[in-house]
Amino acid sequence: MTATGLAARQPTGTAPAARGFKLTWPVVLLGVAGFLALLSLVRIVTGATDIASGGTVSAALSLAVPIGLAGLGGLWAERAGVVNIGLEGMMIFGTWFGAWGAIVTGNPWAGVVAGAVGGLLGGLLHAVATVTFGVDHIISGVAINILAMGVVQYLSKLVFAPMRGGGETQSPRIPGIDRISLPGIGEPLRQVESNGWFFVSDLAGVLRGLTQNVSLFTILAILLVPLSVFLLWRTAFGLRLRACGERPVAAESLGVNVYTYKYLAVVVSGALAGLGGAYLSIVAAGIYREGQTGGRGYIGLAAMIFGNWRPGGLAAGSTLFGYTDALQLRQGGTSVHALLLFVALILAAVAVYQLVKQQRVRAAVITAVSAAVVFTVFAVTDTVPEQFTSFTPHLTTLLVLALASQRLRPPAADGVRYRKGQAK
């Protein structure tokens, strides 16, 4: 089985391996602590108390989960070589079927299953089109997005309109999923948080956001990330699946049924996107509303590319997006203004690193100049106008991508049409 050679080229683990040093737990924790200290400093200087509050962290989590699930869906499909632009449509199926399942049974978990099944059907359609019939992946995906919107509009008229409290464009209220808290620490943490101490209060805020009043669905969604890592990178099944995305011809020559694996991957992809949609309607909104996905499927796809086609990376990408989105939605002007100082400090640190450690003088100068520019903007303004705050998440993600200058490496046969026996 020489196919293992494929995997050997890639470093294993959840996080994308950075150049020069290995990401171990102590390094990660130190990095997080450093970020938090910097945030805390910014909070004390600017007085933007919301940037590390429990409310922000909890909002960030619930904004990140749908994007992360869609991204995870994208990951499964693309690791098997199928580009899935249809994530948005599968998410739309997820929002509708999730709401429907929860309402007709009265049990939100039935809605979760129904949402996954709805997305799965979308995935199956995509698989039939792209794998069996060899349709261009983009075309099939876009068609699914259009189809999904039409189908749920039709179904809403049929199902939700006659319901009490429902209408042609929205469902009645959906029964909620239980939320749990780590007992005993909620109130103490809130106390510590409200004192405004350096670092300690921010840590308390983050812990409170992560441990109090968390939906069980959120926990399930987070667990799906390590589960995907395990299945795709630690099992023979995952190796074969990824081989189909890297070099299907080679996989075929070793006896892997590429069609089966692609089918499985795309169906799982659809189910994950469906889960993302179900989360949106059941947990995040508590209601189905036409058009509520608002392009989150595409953002999920972008988060996956951001994460270099790796679960850890896409989780980081969607968290970053969710966090900045929470900031701008909650205390837009103030928090985003404080974020400017944060960015300026980070840029300054990067400049020093580039100069001292890497001896890249020109890069360091450019980074230092941008740090100065950002700082000037921060210094001469009091708040960021509404028109700018709303695209903070998109801008931040772009900036991080640009600065990280990482080498993105999609699966080699991603989006390439594969026919059985084409190697002959």
Binding site: A59, I138, N145, A148, M149, R173, L329, E386
Partner: protein, 356 residues
């Protein structure tokens, strides 16, 4: 090679996004020829054949469009009109599709044609010029003018002033919030009136304000998850009354108010009646925007042959806007609100239409 692929993929994502926005309508541009219940076929109605084009959401949105539908239904039963034709816009459709919809109504012999929502501004202006014999009405827009166009607009700022005053009177923390759907001039009128009303009661009050999306992105009217996040943020920052002018995102605002033990103010319709039973107790009052009155009045004057082109403003004076009292939560401050209402009607208080 590699770069190429990433680039192509990015282009694909973009194209995908754009195509969905542009073409999505194909999927859902279904037309709702509502078979009217209880259509009195026996009387062989002879009145005008009304064509009505809804904005996104259409009949059944429990808010804006439903309000227009109520006016149509009332006109139909009272004026004995034949079955009207009702069409609905789809999310992300183009102006051309709206024009096509209006043209379809006009060419199929429907007269008058009522367009609901400012999004029809351009299309109405264009199509009305093509059909000089058909009377057009457009709700929420004064920009589309013509000899056969009636503009039915509302003084949302005046109604919002009253609920702003109510919010300030009810707030114990001197902190109120406004959640707007999309930052367009129409919704800014709500914000301006709300802020003016709150300040009239207490000039030191803190007013938090946030829009869910920026044009040309109109997802802010349909994103309850974001509405909830924003309202949570406001409540965490000390607000105890939150007013929303965010259409379908409003249900998220109510959820947040319920969870945060705050109160909420509804919009357009009496949302203490339309919201879900589990959250309706947080709806303190609603800013009523009586589309039904406007649509009914228009159809009635059409039947009487007295339609006049140009702008008709439905303000406090003619009860085109108002606040609701369902649930009795504002009974204790009703006298003060009525006082403000009289002052606005008499012109003593001039409510601003734009913020600052």
């Amino acid at each position: 090679m590699l770069r190429n692929r990433v680039g192509r993929m990015a282009a694909g994502v973009l194209a995908g996004a754009m195509v969905t926005v542009g073409v999505a309508a194909c999927g859902g541009d279904s037309t709702t020829a509502t078979p009217a219940e209880g259509g009195s076929s026996a009387a062989a109605p002879t009145g005008a054949k009304v064509g009505l084009a809804y904005d996104i959401g259409g009949r059944g949105d429990q808010s804006f469009n439903d309000s227009a539908a109520a006016g149509l239904d009332k006109a139909k039963s009272e004026l004995k009109l034949p079955d009207p034709r009702e069409l609905t816009a789809s999310p992300g459709e183009t102006e051309a599709q709206k024009e096509e919809r209006l043209r379809l109504l006009a060419t199929s012999g429907y007269n008058p044609v009522v367009a609901v929502g400012f999004a029809y501004s351009g299309p109405v202006k264009k199509v009305a010029a093509e059909f000089p014999d058909v009377k057009f009405a457009i709700v929420d827009d004064a920009a589309a003018t013509g000899p056969n166009i009636s503009n039915l607009v509302f003084a949302e700022h005046e109604g919002s002033f009253l609920v702003g005053a109510a919010a300030a009177l009810k707030s114990t923390k001197n902190n109120v919030g406004f959640v707007g759907g999309v930052q367009v001039p129409l919704i800014q009128k709500f914000e301006a009136g709300f802020a003016a009303g709150a300040k009239a009661v207490n000039k030191d009050i803190t007013i938090q304000s946030k829009y869910l999306s920026q044009p040309p992105e109109f997802t802010g009217f349909n994103d309850p998850a974001k509405g909830k996040t924003v309202a949570e943020g406001m409540i965490d920052a000390g607000a105890d009354v939150v007013y929303h002018a965010a259409g379908g995102s409003g249900s998220g605002v109510f959820e947040a108010a319920k969870a945060g033990k705050a109160q909420a103010i509804g919009v357009d319709a009496d949302q203490a009646l339309t919201a879900d039973a589990a959250v309706k107790d947080v709806v303190m009052t609603s800013m009523l925007k009586k589309l039904d009155v406007a649509v009914y009045d228009f159809l009635k004057s059409f039947a009487a042959g007295t339609v006049k082109p140009g702008t008709t403003v439905y303000d406090l004076k003619v009860a085109g806007v108002d606040y609701s009292v369902t649930g009795g939560k504002v009974d204790d401050i009703k006298d003060k609100l009525e006082e403000y209402k009289q002052k606005i009607v008499s012109g003593e208080i001039k409510v601003p239409e734009t913020t600052s």
